[in-house]
Amino acid sequence: MLEHLELFFKSIFIDNMVFAVFLGMCSYLAVSKKVATAVGLGAAVIFVLAVTVPLNWLLDQYLLQPGALSWLGEEYASYDLSFLSFILFIATIATMVQLVEIVVEKFSPSLYNSLGIFLPLIAVNCAILGGSLFMQAREIPSLGLAFNYGLSSGIGWFLAILAIAAIREKIRYSAVPVPLRGLGITFIITGLMGIGFQSFGGMLTGDNEPPAATEEVVEVIETEQIKEDSEDPIETEESIEVIAGID
């Protein structure tokens, strides 16, 4: 439970998709002129990330990782298909986006009207592929955590685009230097927001962590020593027995 909570807040605030790793910047800049459209795109991103990251986690675990094919039989255990991950991940994403679009259009026309126009845009949003690639790079251990990671990074992206859209709506009434208007000032505001988000960095590295880590190491060393200590007499006993057997 605690690790879920930790991953959740970490992905929203500390490793925020926009402010920490700059993913999905293209649509972030292009669709953030109005709050209403920003909310639509943000919701679509949350949804698609929460679906594709667990799917790609399954692909990674049972198809792509070195040794992932061992469920097929012993002779497949040495296969390493990880070089295929880009093409499989992007294919999954493109297919899922199409599928989601068709299903939503069929069953909920009102949701389709508010969300559907953004879905094709999302297939080529770096935040979506980035979510899957970071999931793979950080070796997220379980399906539940993968779902959590997708969902919370989506929420982080949603927060970011909502915030910048609100600021851009207001800044239209300010006296920005002429050459900076539009794109320039948006970049600089995003930079300043990113610095603000950096201050969340200390949130999860509280006082407890470093001592806990050293305690673990000490424990490991101690258990190893105990093992070594306990192993020695057994070995000698065995060797005595062996010698006795020869006799």
């Binding site: 910047m25 293209c26 880009f86 992007i90 790079a137 050459p179 600089i188 995003t190 927001m193």
Partner: protein, 215 residues
């Protein structure tokens, strides 16, 4: 007869300044910002994008008459993904350390908007040779910004260029550091990239008022 006609050289030169993919077209920002803390990573990223964009433009342009328009996005994604796998495997084989620094951002070339943008806007409607030149031009325009940002961030942030100290030794206090100069740690953190690009956009538009957006 010159190597390139006037129109063709315009394809290469335009994206370098007045139609720059990053500062004017606003494409391909994602990867441009994350890896520019070091000049070396910027240069490698620029070269990778140059390869992928030029080759991809040629392939898409050759196939432009046989791709059904309904599934063109998926076809484009497959072409890019294949080229990016080639780049990724090459980097892993010959520059392993660097591929670790770039980590997922090599994979993210696939969704780099600049690539899909050029496929859609140019390669689908033009022949292979012109598409190739367009790819080279846009990738160079992208690379120029990357290298400028990487240059300033590494110089001001760490006092080095390509990992070689150019301003003296900050610990032994030689060179500039002897006069009380300090590295600007702000330049290393990710948000600094946004601010540097913002300032570049400011300078470019101040020099060329026709580029200013209507607010």
């Amino acid at each position: 007869m010159p190597l390139l006609s006037k129109k063709e050289s315009k394809l290469i030169l335009d994206p370098l300044a007045d139609n720059n993919p990053i500062t004017i077209q606003v494409l391909g920002i994602c990867s441009a910002l994350a890896i520019t803390a070091e000049l070396k990573a910027s240069v490698v990223m620029a070269i990778s994008v140059l390869f992928v964009l030029a080759m991809g433009n040629v392939v898409i342009s050759l196939m432009r008459n046989i791709i059904p328009s309904k599934i063109r996005i998926i076809v484009q994604l497959v072409v890019v993904a294949t080229l990016v796998i080639v780049v990724d495997q090459t980097l892993k084989a010959f520059a392993y350390e660097l591929s670790k620094t770039l980590s997922v951002f090599v994979g993210l070339i696939i969704t780099n908007c600049i690539i899909m943008g050029r496929f859609e806007a140019f390669a689908l409607g033009n022949g292979p040779w012109r598409s190739f030149l367009d790819g080279i031009g846009n990738a160079l325009g992208y690379g120029v910004i990357l290298i400028i940002v990487g240059f300033f961030r590494e110089l001001l942030g760490s006092g080095t260029l390509f990992g070689i100290p150019v301003l003296g030794d900050p610990i032994a206090k030689t060179g500039l550091y002897a006069y009380g100069y300090e590295n600007n740690g702000f330049m290393i953190i990710p948000p600094a990239a946004l601010i540097v690009v913002g300032i570049l956009i400011w300078i470019q538009r101040a020099k060329n008022p026709s580029l200013v957006e209507e607010a």
